[in-house]
Amino acid sequence: MAFISVFEVIGPNMVGPSSSHTAGAASIARLAGKMLHRKIKKIDFILYGSFAQTYKGHGTDRALLGGIMGFETDDVRIRDSFEIAEKEGIEFSFSPNTVETDVHPNTVDMLIEDISGQKLTVRGESLGGGKVKLTKINGVKVHFTGEYHALIVIHKDHPGVISKVTDVFGKQHVNIAFLRVYRETKGGDAYMIIESDEEITKNAVDEIEKNPFVRETMLIRR
């Protein structure tokens, strides 16, 4: 049976009112925010299921916006995230989608654009008790919880890329806890999510980026 920490019972410390609809929402967006290289310019949140029905009364909207700006679940600034985002010059919108029902009850799509115009789409699910996972990055199905240090590598689907990348980890003495690979189409864009117990060094990332088949990396610290 998996270990349950006392802080999973007495916790999380959070801005109310709901661990799934407020704290979970903040965590999803915060995780997505860590994937960005540059400041955010615009974000559209599409809300599904129970998120779509009750987001206003649960402050899901404020929590999502606060999360993308990096606020933790117990950061009181979540309450004022609309005003803070406006001051920061971030454009934002919330659209409930009640038509699509074949999704987890607490799901959100985040359509993000950074100041350089680069776009990123992330889907997250709030699983209850503040636990979350990201299930899609740019439309590709993934499984990512942010519980470990992680490196997301977007690369061309090509023989040998995975072993080259994991080789760098070995040489840097960083132990890989989980490695998951996904791809859009054969020979198209592929995603590698590497989760590690130790912090992943900048050196390792630089080394991986030298690979001609690697298009982009996202380093996510726990």
Binding site: N13, G16, P17
Partner: protein, 293 residues
């Protein structure tokens, strides 16, 4: 040092001749990610947040997001200060703090989920009422938090603490079971008595449904936190008097889970039954979210 059942927990306590809180601390240090010092620091931070959320609404009344609650704690406090309370200071203070935490939670203030946000008022209510009325040390209150954590851990493993899965009995019922065990240890009871108190609490709150009006964590959640706190104190008093639970903790946890699974989905946080489905509940929902005829 880990345990999966109440029997294993009790065996560890008896073998080491230690209270539940000590076993829970050791377990956290051995299997968790933090060392002994970090565990204490983190729990102290949680205690600080709990303390703040239990007292803040007595200074400033907060408006909830849905507008259904706000000011309940200060109404009770006013009556207590005037010496009119019929419950006595321990219970009345517990009621006050339980209301305060839910007021903070519903107005997007900072709370500690224990085990959930909707049941976050029960544990601080019992801890601080006893701390103040019996002059307990912070160390004793910290022990209470770890003991409560051990009970919550057992319920997460062997039952559920989710209203969506097993109804309010799993949320506020679990919180009350945790708080009752904490109260027993803080007042000098044995590990056996802690588990008796938790088992009595679960049996007393068995079958409670989750039916939030408009789907929001406001009503009846707030007043049920008061009920949870008073249930916790009731069973703690009984266990401390040497009254045994009719059915032991492990069997009660299992029973609570089975009852929860047997509840129709209307009574598991969907806001389609119970208080939420009453004419008044529906009218409140329309008032808050609009879109009704």
């Amino acid at each position: 040092m880990d345990f999966n059942t109440a029997e294993e927990l009790l065996e560890l306590c008896n073998k080491e001749n230690k209270p539940i809180s000590s076993v829970m601390r050791l377990r956290e240090i051995v299997y968790g990610e933090l060392d002994a010092n970090e565990v204490e620091i983190r729990m102290k931070k949680s205690l600080g947040i709990m303390r703040n959320s239990a007292h803040e609404p007595l200074k400033t009344i907060m408006r909830s997001m849905g507008g259904m609650i706000g000011g309940e704690a200060s109404k009770l406090e006013k009556r207590r200060i005037e010496g009119k309370s019929i419950c006595g200071n321990v219970l009345t203070k517990a009621l006050i703090y339980s209301q305060a935490v839910l007021e903070v939670n519903a107005s997007m203030g900072v709370i500690v989920a224990a085990p959930t946000a909707g049941s976050a008022g029960v544990l601080p209510a019992v801890l601080f009422a006893l701390e103040e009325e019996f002059g307990l040390s912070e160390e004793t209150v910290m022990n209470g938090l770890f003991t409560a954590g051990a009970i919550g851990c057992l319920l997460m493993k062997n039952a559920s603490v989710s209203g969506a899965e097993a109804g309010c009995q799993a949320e506020i019922g679990s919180a009350a079971a945790m708080a009752s065990a904490a109260a027993v240890e803080m007042m000098g009871g044995t590990p056996e008595q802690c588990l008796d108190a938790a088992a009595i609490t679960i049996s007393n709150m068995l079958g409670l449904v989750c039916d939030p009006i408009a789907g929001l964590v406001e009503m009846p959640c707030q007043s049920r936190n008061a009920a949870g706190a008073s249930n916790a104190l009731t069973s703690a008093e009984m266990a401390l008097a040497g009254i045994k639970a009719a059915v032991p903790f492990s069997e009660m946890a299992d029973s609570m889970y089975r009852v929860g699974k047997g509840l129709p989905s209307e009574l598991r946080e969907t806001a389609l039954g119970g208080c939420a489905a009453t004419p008044t509940g529906c009218a409140l929902k329309c008032k808050i979210f609009g879109g009704c005829n």
